[in-house]
Subunit: 422 residues, 2 copies
């Protein structure tokens, strides 16, 4: 039985989707895919935990931040509108299966036709999903005239301005479509991106990608605040998933926002931030704490109290100087500095090997979700890029923005709304 | 109190070492470093598990393979023999502390002198060690005439031959000293290499480094066999730590081996193997299984049975062809093919982003330990590089060999024996 792994997916079409994406579905796809927990990692999330792929919102936004990330930006090849729809259908089908702990396709590495390539590459076969979420987004370039989508471009999907301290590398910027895969097991996240990339062969090409090994944000109150590679707790004042009112106000796009098909979606900004950690590591503890405006050990604001005490920007010390520097990170990023503007952060630390001088290529892959980048991310980043004391130790090398559509229903696919197919 | 983070370490010297490296030491260094388990990962190993730094053998060789790796090769700068000794003392001091779950140095991010850089960079402050091991090795180039060590070069520390299928990149080859950091939490492994690199500033420079996210070998019987990025179980026939006789015969150098100071040590070979996974993923299941000589699902030899059934290379099928191809990976790598030669494998999968054509830079960072590379690793690799069906899908881009000295006693330091200081 000849079996074409690319075309086969679409032939299965919507019926396949409906069967695959079940909220909290059991693990394994028949007896061939026995699951054992011996090889994987866990933490706050249960190793076997699954999040639904289908639903009102996409998972991977307010979902408790998993420990590991594989993020990929694709450019769509010279294909037709119908072929783009088919690609999104195939991706939705595979994503629904993988997030439920199944192989990417029906014919896995054990059993399927022997004279065809398997529908799943196999390296996550024995691994529980570790809370895998797969989140899709669409960049501004997808809304040019190639696919008849120009009129569907969301008004909130702006082109990001050039920020004063940007030193962007073109190969790390933009992309037609992004896929964010998060799991507590990096092998599961890598497996997801690798299989989605395989499925896209000939239809979309990987533009840039990023692995992250340490989450730097807590998206729920139950998660402790993690540390970035400057050694500081990061995102103490982040929006939390339990703050339904805050999430509705700051994260989810609403039907009244001007782009009906985006209601229930959000907007993702990613920024790849290299840290010059060798220089940072030779900076005094006092200087480091001044730059952050918090203590390094506990993460308490320099105005006093504990980690979760609100910073008091008015309080002064010797010579009437404010205890928290006006150019500190905590001051410039604080909602009070931006008329209450908040973002939901979901960043990850990274180390991409080292450069030819023996310095680690390390830093922060910043991700934020917001309802309106123009009034949320942009003013915060403008303030930081102009004045932040930290700028001496960071370099912004990658940047992208994506419209993250609402979740799909189990009989549909991601992005159907922009084709008027929802 | 001025405080120089480089010199300070050596001044503390041996007294510091004796106090720091305690087998199974408790977590935290005083109240400033409270430990909570909220942010980290675990699996077979307990998140809070620690392995001793001091002892007869270095940890990280037969230790149950942790899930994550950060491996670094350093070149020693133009320093004196005494300064090299001082560096190894400083590294031993910091490694003993970190493997015990403490900060790299006495003055951490909380409390220490404010006008000096902290002795620890802080990003692992709240994280349990996740079974962290730090393993040191010395490359052939360390035994030139710079440090008066030429007469101390172990006879078993050969220069690796050029293998037929090598396509080595000079920047990924060799190194004076290697450090292998393994932990179930990548942030802990990265923290270890980053702090050891910081401590070496001005004395040794990072030459190349590698992050690995998925172990590909089981070093104990309790560990399930993990999968490489070809999707196959790897290392089913690996030596196991419980096989004391096998480990003594194949892994540990003995005093009669010709280099007395290496007794209780071993020899590490690392090979960075890029996989052309996009090509592999378009290969039929039948072809993939022929190449490995095992089934993809269960990992059973094609001669029948289950994963742990011994392969029967004599058994034939249709046309009297052997069921396991003579050029299959399992046949060429099997001890029977090499007069019983075995190695202890400890490899990791990696993904280093993608190339400009959108292909993932993915593969296997192979590590093996053996008592005598010339009679163990070399003949196996020669057979593989000449005949392995898998060669079409791999490219050997990095290669190195290191003498891994025995463990140090808690009043000494790693490598003391080669300075006649043990």
């Amino acid at each position: 039985m000849p079996h074409d792994d690319t075309k086969g997916l679409s032939r299965r079409g919507l019926l396949g989707l409906a069967g695959a994406g079940v909220v909290g579905a059991g693990l394994g796809v028949g007896g061939a895919f026995a699951v054992n927990g011996g090889g994987s990692t866990s933490t706050s999330n249960d190793v076997a935990s699954t999040y639904p792929f289908f639903g009102e919102h996409q998972s991977g936004i307010i979902t408790p931040a998993q420990d590991r990330l594989h993020f990929a930006a694709f450019d769509v090849n010279d294909i037709s509108r119908d072929e783009l729809i088919e690609l999104l259908r195939d991706w939705s089908y595979a994503a629904a299966r993988m997030t439920a702990g199944q192989a990417a396709g029906e014919y896995g590495p054990a059993g399927g036709p022997y004279d065809a390539p398997p529908d799943d590459t196999g390296e996550a076969l024995d691994l529980p999903p570790g809370g895998l979420t797969i989140t899709f987004g669409f960049g501004p370039s997808l809304f040019d005239d190639r696919f008849g989508l120009a009129s569907k471009r969301p008004t909130a999907l702006i082109d990001l301005p050039k920020f004063p301290s940007d030193a962007l590398l073109p190969e790390l910027v933009g992309g037609d479509i992004c896929i964010q895969a998060c799991s507590d097991d990096p092998q599961v996240a890598v497996h997801a991106i690798r299989n989605l990339s395989r499925i896209a062969f000939g239809r979309a090409t990987l533009r840039w990608s990023q692995l992250g090994f340490g989450r730097t944000s807590s998206t729920t109150q139950a998660q402790t605040t993690p540390r970035n590679l400057f050694g500081f707790k990061d995102g103490t004042a982040n929006l939390r998933a339990e703050d339904t009112e805050g999430v509705n106000e700051h994260v989810w796009a609403a039907s009244g926002d001007g782009t009906a098909w985006m209601a229930g979606g959000s907007y993702l900004v990613s920024r790849k931030i290299r840290m010059t950690i060798e220089t940072w590591d030779r900076t005094s503890l006092r200087e480091q704490e001044t730059i952050f405006g918090r203590t390094k050990g506990e993460g308490a604001p320099l105005s006093g109290g504990g980690e979760f005490t609100d910073p008091d920007f008015e309080q002064t010390g010797r010579d009437d100087a404010p205890l928290i520097d006006d150019a500190s990170h905590v001051k410039l990023a604080h909602p009070d500095t931006h008329g209450g503007a908040q973002i939901l952060r979901r960043g990850y630390n990274f180390v991409d090997g080292n450069d030819e001088l023996g310095r680690l290529n390390a830093g922060l892959f910043f991700i934020s979700f917001q309802r309106d980048p123009e009034t949320q991310f942009v003013p915060i980043q403008l303030a930081l890029s102009r004045n932040d004391l930290m700028n001496e130790y960071v370099r912004y090398v990658g940047s992208a923005i994506f419209a993250v559509p609402p979740g799909a229903s189990s009989s549909s696919f991601i992005g159907a709304g922009m084709f008027d197919l929802a």
